[in-house]
């Protein structure tokens, strides 16, 4: 051997390298859990059949679902089988004296066994959800997801969602402008700025402390009662916009302020040393940088704002939720409200994914 270290290193058969641990146990446990899961899946999926004796058509369909589902669940057994095959491979390598090489199939055995358990757990949760939907003669499905009621109400409910979108857009613009202005006022330096800073702090504390729904209620019902020309007699939607703007601006002001705070003071020092005034340093150096950092959490707040527009129904405005509630009361069934849930789900998920993407990209940019 040309390697001088070889003499001091243990050779592969010297017995100083330990053989990999056997993970057969995990493979067996995985197999057992897989078998139990298959049984439970069959039981769970056929449970619904007990309510459909009078409906052979539906029974037929549910039976097919049960068979398909159970066949699918049988795939769980692939994991322990693969695990055992890898372990056998590991044993073969140990037998051949290659202890180091044996570690790879042994480790794979463990991973495969654990994967089987993970997929089994997920499958059981899905089966449980199916049982919950169908049990008691499909009570849950009938109450929440009745396709007939959903279809019948969907058009008018979704038409009413226009109002939620208007409220969101109008409030977003007001929140952006108001919050940035407040955050900057909050940072006015010197003793002259002190009372102004206090005022902003009081505003932020006040509206963060009060639940949004209370703000909407007080403004929506209170301002019209004042009979002051300037603030009464508005369309109901505008009271909702005002209330949501006041409430959300408190949060977003804090967001802007912390972003401005997070810009390192050396940036201000550099700008000031070049002769920029404090106001110029903020305008050209600090705020543009802060704004970039603030975009992902800001979009997060706007997603929350969209969802909170559903609160305006307490003003008796026929928004998406108000309209759905009207249908729900007529049908004595909640399926129209599920349509609202679906509506928010569909418009919100892409946005939150987009926010995640932006955060991810920002992390990469920071490196």
């Amino acid at each position: 051997m040309s390697n001088p270290m070889a003499a001091t290193m243990p050779t592969r058969s010297a017995g100083k390298i330990s053989a990999p641990v056997s993970y057969r146990g995990i493979a067996y446990i995985s197999a057992a859990i897989g078998l139990i899961s298959i049984g439970l899946t069959w039981l769970g999926l056929t449970h619904a059949l007990s309510f459909t004796a009078d409906n052979p058509d539906l029974s037929q369909w549910l039976y097919r679902i049960a068979i398909a589902g159970t066949c699918l669940s049988a795939l769980l057994l692939i994991f322990p089988v693969r695990a055992l095959m890898h372990m056998r491979q590991a044993d073969r390598l140990v037998g051949a004296g290659d202890l180091v090489a044996a570690r790879v199939p042994a480790w794979t055995c463990r991973q495969q066994g654990l994967s089987g358990i993970g997929y089994a757990a997920t499958l059981l949760v899905l089966v449980a959800a199916y049982v919950f939907l169908t049990t008691n003669n499909f009570a849950v499905q009938r109450a929440f997801l009745n396709p007939e009621y959903m279809l019948e109400s969907a058009l008018m409910v979704l038409a009413a969602a226009k109002l939620n979108i208007y409220i969101t857009l109008a409030a977003s613009v007001i929140i952006l402008v108001l919050s940035l202005a407040l955050a900057l006022l909050r940072m006015i330096p010197g003793p002259a700025g002190r009372p102004i800073r206090w005022m902003v702090i009081a505003y932020v504390d006040f509206f963060r402390a009060i639940p949004t729904i209370i703000v909407i209620y007080l403004i929506g019902f209170g301002l019209p009662l004042t009979k002051i020309g300037f603030v009464s007699g508005w369309d109901g939607m505008w009271y909702a916009v005002l209330a949501l703007s006041l409430s959300f601006s408190a949060y977003v002001t804090e967001l802007f302020r912390s972003a401005i705070d997070s810009i390192h003071p050396s940036q201000i020092a550099a700008a000031r040393s070049l002769g920029l005034t404090a106001a110029q340093a903020y305008a050209y150096v600090v705020v543009p940088q802060a704004f970039r950092r603030v975009i992902p959490p800001l979009l997060g707040f706007f997603v929350a704002l969209q969802k909170d527009t559903a609160l305006v129904l307490i003003l008796g405005i026929s928004d998406v939720f108000g309209q759905a509630k009207y249908f729900a009361a007529n049908f004595f069934n909640l399926s129209p409200v599920s349509v609202v849930g679906l509506f928010f789900f569909v418009i919100t998920i892409p946005q939150t994914r987009f926010v995640d993407y932006l955060i991810e990209r920002q992390k990469k940019g920071a490196r």
Partner: protein, 246 residues
Amino acid sequence: MSEAFLSISALQKSYGSHQVLKGIDLQVNRHEVVCLIGASGSGKSTLLRCVNALEPIDSGVISLDGDPVSGIGVDVNRLRRKVGMVFQSFNLFPHLSVIQNVMLAPMKVGGLSREAAHDRALKLLARIGLSERADYMPDQLSGGQQQRVAIIRCMAMEPEVLLLDEVTSALDPELVGEVLEILKDLAQGGMTMLLATHEMSFARDVASSVVFLHQGQLIEKGSPGQIFEAPQMAETRKFLRRALSG
């Protein structure tokens, strides 16, 4: 004796109960390059920040061209147009491209048109050999390139004095040379400079005088020859022994 261009007398500065500068007297004449040396925490950076009014001073007088520029009521923005400062950590504006970094102050403070500022920035970038990098973002440059841009960002305001706060300390050793080269260039061009540095050989080659600070006091001042070859004070000798062997 005529007044020096930049004159600091009896300057005192404390952070809370910790006194950082304990009465500093220092004169810098036009076209002089004065190097501040001393251990970390000796007050070099604080002294530079006080001269640029980034830190308020407790007592003493700083005057520039005979005009007191320290204390309450001074127009700091006017002072800073005459005094440029370069920082250890470059402090380029990360959201602006290289050329926008250089153009910002001439446009917003100097009142130059966009075209004039652009021309001036391009000329300066050419001087440091970074013309092709004009549209890069700062984080796409090496540390040495960033610091060179920071220096010409200062020069774009045509300051009369340049303050440099350990401008090579944050750089990888192989990038130090390119930054010192530019400083030598500026010194030969007659720029007045006051700089804190750990680069003893640079101080020896370029400085008109070297000042040793120790625990907030000015211990010794002299020509590089005097300070490096025949230091008079025990603290100076002790510091130099360590600095030159390390």
